[in-house]
Assembly symmetry: C2
Homo-oligomer: 112 residues x 2
Amino acid sequence: MLTSGGCPKNMLSIKDALEALEGRWKLLILFSLTSGPKRFKQIAKDVIGITDKTLSKELKCLEANQLVKRTVHDTFPPTVEYAITSHGLSLEKVIEELHYWGLAHRKEIIGK
Amino acid sequence: MLTSGGCPKNMLSIKDALEALEGRWKLLILFSLTSGPKRFKQIAKDVIGITDKTLSKELKCLEANQLVKRTVHDTFPPTVEYAITSHGLSLEKVIEELHYWGLAHRKEIIGK
């Protein structure tokens, strides 16, 4: 079992992951993009509670970590679309486990 | 597949989880406690880079979410110990998936 021992080597990889995904928004933005590429305003609508300023900052950060790809389309006026990368999609299991745990947490703690 | 569709109902449970685990420290603190109950200073030593002030704040937050239990032992002087709860241990799979993803992320992005 991974979690028996608190091994420092495992701690490093968990730390790497948490630093890349820090905050309450990044995984929600990625989750919104799993249904397909989206415009800024569409993501803002999906991720309830996020401000435009925060979304803009988080998208830049996700792009720097190669989790999201920003594409400018040569339309008139130009349109910008964000898509999840294959590296972003590799977070699927993390998102899935968070979903299950979030369900249990609501039942156990928030629901009380 | 959970991540096909960005379903709003799934979004809520992921949001619940991310709010309870917000920041880069909580899961690392819990991971440190998986090897057994610890004193404050022992956790501070395990979780490299955390300040005493942040650790103190995070432990209170983890206690409020019933992920950590604080016990005061009637010794002289009194000693305080922190232990992971069964609800905290239910994060094992989340931590495990973050560990695997962190390994891949270091290889793919940080290592470049």
